[in-house]
Amino acid sequence: MMRRKIRYILTESAKPVTESDRPQFEQQLYRAMLHSIGELSYHRTNPKIMKFIDDKRFILRCSLDGYTNALLALSIIKKLDVKEAAFYTLKSSGTIKALLKEPKAK
């Protein structure tokens, strides 16, 4: 079976997400992304939250084919359910390890 190439995006939420709200937040984010990307293209993006780093930052996995759609969806989502929301994509990489590496001081 051919393995799909994937991309990890380090994303920051403008509003903090408490630990108890995470499962609900995850579902709301997928729903909002489905709405933005569209039913026919969502499968190409196939987003999944892999890990919460803190109350604002998390790692979103998507397939390489749907990487652009994921970035655009995260840019235009301004509401989750009824709550105001905004997402900033900070970095992207092919591995989680590289994503979490601190940049070398110049």
Binding site: T68, S75, I76, A86, T89, L90
Partner: protein, 173 residues
Amino acid sequence: MDYYDIVMDSCSIDEKLSQRLGYKKIFSMGKDIKLANLNDPKVRGASAGIIMGEDKNKLLTFARGDVKAVIVTDFRIDKKLMAHMAENDIVLCIPVSAITFNYGLSRSRAIYMLNTLFTYARKSDIEVSFITQASSEMYLASEMQLIELAMLVGADEKYARHSISEVNKGLME
């Protein structure tokens, strides 16, 4: 490559956030560069800054003065204005907040209008600056997102990067 963004003066951003978003600096309209909103009837003159408005005759009159960039708020093309901008090296600012702020059909329409405006501007040799023009933190976008939004409007990656680095920096000099 250093990237720059321009936001409304109502949007306060600390340096740490702007660095996290991938910008060297986020400039503020009204503080770092003058902004004249021509939709406001009280505005009488503009100098060395950005003018924004809908009325093309008014925009053209003001653009004959000392102006660095123009924001056409209804995104409609005016050939006379565009020709004047091309002759005088006036930059066309495209605020991507028109895409992120709208919803549904109006968002689709904004993308279409911006795409037409961008294509016409580039064919006329006008430099285009992509900015977020965010009025609050909620409408900010990181450098990665701004590049993708510019590409959605029709720019290729190379031009999108040039726009948010050199063109945006040039507006502040």
